[in-house]
Amino acid sequence: MELMVIMIFKIILVIFLAFIIGIFFLGLSRKIIARIQWRYGPPITQPIIDIIKLFNQGSMSHGVLFNFGIILSLVGSIVVILFLPMGKMCPLSSSGGLLVILYLMLLLPLGIALSSGEAANPNASIGISRKFILALGYEVPLLLIFLAVMTHYNTISIVKIVKMQSNTGWSLTSLPLLLSGIAYLLILPAILGVRPFEIFKAPQEISSGPMVEYGGKFLAFATIQHAFNEFIGISIFVNLFLGGASNPGYFFLKMLVVFFIYQFVNAVFPRFRIEQALKYLWKWPTLLAFVGLIIVAITN
């Protein structure tokens, strides 16, 4: 009985911490972009103000699937967080490991795709088709990276991978996985949907793509989902390549370092077209990840 209570407490704590860190990163990103552009920018708590306003605003709905899709996407993000170890806490650690994470991560674009398809807007259809094509683009190197890590440690459980790194040092410093780590950093903007791969949203081209019909609480959910998404993308990198951490404080510091790396790229780059993005993603990161996988397969 106590075990259940502790587990529920851990789940709530993990979700709450992930939400706070995600919202903090959203606000910090706007501040960094503003400072790089020589202006002051909004306060760091601006996303919270946005979410409070959005929950108090009315919205338009196109039907049941419109509501269901965004809920599905948000639930998918939250459930993935339960599988990722943060510090020493990982509530659902014994339920399938890295493969389940890979599969649950595909619920995120699928939920938004279903709800925006119901909206019957041409911008939404174009946006979601570009999102799926981009997902196919970054999945090729991402799968190679995951397979390299799983083959190197010969397990599919992410908790075990973190534990083994505390014995053998960070994955990034071991030769076979260095190339995979660099490849992951190269595709991280594509996974998160920040510039130069902001093809998903593209406010100027396709009017926010799939979110063109989202008002009020739908947009609030989309913002929260974006926050969780950033958390997931960076947390996977920290767990697989930077050795996890022994408590959430160190975890947050490592996440901050990775965050700064791709935010500086986000602030200065324009947006790729989808063909250019696909050509890039299937060329250099794939090559690096492929060579990394060959090296891991040989040294095993």
Partner: protein, 618 residues
Amino acid sequence: MNIEVLLVIAFGGALITYLLGKISKRARNVSAVAISLALVVIIAFLYNASSNITFYTGFLKNLSLVLRINTLSWFFAITISVVGALSIIFSLSYIKGKERTDFYYLMMMLVNASMIGIVLAGDFVTFYIFWEIMSWSAFLLISYNRGTAMAAGMKYIIMSVIGSMAMLIGILSLYANYGTLNISEISTFMASASSGYILFILITFGIGFGVKSAIVPLHAWLPDAHSQAPSPFSAVLSGVLIKMGIYGFILILYVIVGLKNFLGLSSNGFSFHYILCILGVITIVIPSFIAILQNDAKRLLAWSSIGQIGYIILAIAFGTSLGFAGGTFHILNHAIFKALLFLTVGAVEYRTGTRDLNSLGGLIKKMPITFLLALIGAFGLIGVPLTNGFVSKWLIYKTLILEGHPFLAFFALLGTWAAILYTYKLIHNIFLGELQEKHNNIEKTPFSMQLPMIVLALAIILFGILPGIPLKIINSIGVSFGLESLNINIWGIASDTGALNTINIFMAVLIIGLIVWLIFKAGRKSVKVTQDNNYAAGTYIPKGKYNYSVNFYNPLQRMISPFLKDFIDDFYMWISRGIKKMSISIRRIYTGDIGNYVMYIVLFLALLIFIQIKWNLW
């Protein structure tokens, strides 16, 4: 209950249905549904039976024809009969009003009965007889619609006959070597055969079964056949008929040749099972990407079937216990969700008259239940957690990764992402997007069409949350082949290298979903708007002029379509055109002029006399 009685009911029922159709349509419908359901019930009662019956001795001098049933046969038989029964219930509304409906029902039940006969066969003669009955009754059903379906049917039957001839060569050589065709006796003989002979048997039977299960060099018949056949039969074709090829593979690889011989069959680095794995991987990747480019709903599903068969072949040829469990479970899963998807596309075609993805759209407002069922089928095809597709794919990936073959695992995972793309294209272009003007007045699908789809959708979810139910049966099949047993609970598999616990995932999704939904409801109520109240930069979208889902993945299509033409199909067509040209030029001998024919006779006699004089042969 004897298994011969089962086969008599199956075949006799087909004939009775046809004859009843001449008297009254309603009696024929009732009898078709009743006999198919009776077959399901009888097979369900045969669970855990295991028997061997010789029902005819003295066939062609000293061959005895044997029927037998064991867990493997039972597993396949229940899948075949359930999918067949549900397709017949679906056809009650679908076929009504078309021509030659008695013939249709006769052929459907004949295909059903012959497939059950195949899995119950205990020796190769029975196997071959039922195999041929299945092949030509499928051909008659594929070309049911006449017109362009004839060409598709011809392609199918020619390739199927070539495969059967290869299989016949294998059977004859087995008879010549061992004097018997009984499967259990042959498996004891083959344990001590030479590896060259094993390779020969594997190749001949492999061609035969490969044509039927559409592995890549031999898949050219499948896209045309599946798209031209009537939809309930497409469900049976794609769901269970191709699995007969897989059943044959399991028979050859595990029962006859035996696991140790098969895995050990290698010569200077090339092992046969690895080549089969590579063929499976090619079958996963290339057809899945070709499916993204299709514009016809059933053709897309047909290419997707080829892709999923690649998973099954890869897992079964891989040879570990997790792989066998994953592959066999995927047979059941693929039958369920592919049949469901073909039935939903059939329902849409029944109501709107088209299956062109570039002219449909927005049907969720008119057919909400069909959309929900298609969505569940699509989730199963992708492998979303909590559906059965996820469990079988998880097993396949886990064994590929843990045995140290990351490249095979990479291509298999890539197939899943291609599956996501084409499945979303199917759902979006048919159900989401904008409702076309001409489809404003269609009604919902009739209940007799919805019922089989509901049953299949429930099975997807049930087997996703509690996969232990079928996995126990599959485990016992694997143990009987000499693979090691897995530790199976009702909700998943426990092992020390990463367990799978679907109940946890289910509870987490349920509770978090509830909380998020409550937060959603606590916000301000949203205003319902219609489809034309859409953001279009301040203007009003005129009705009837736009279709937003044409060329859905256009940038990707432009990039990859030069690489993804179906080279093999073009190669076969080139061969057939060459044979036709050669035949036309040979025909010129028949000039129709009597003088020519007399000259032929005189020249041939002169040639014979010349040979006799020179070399004195006779």
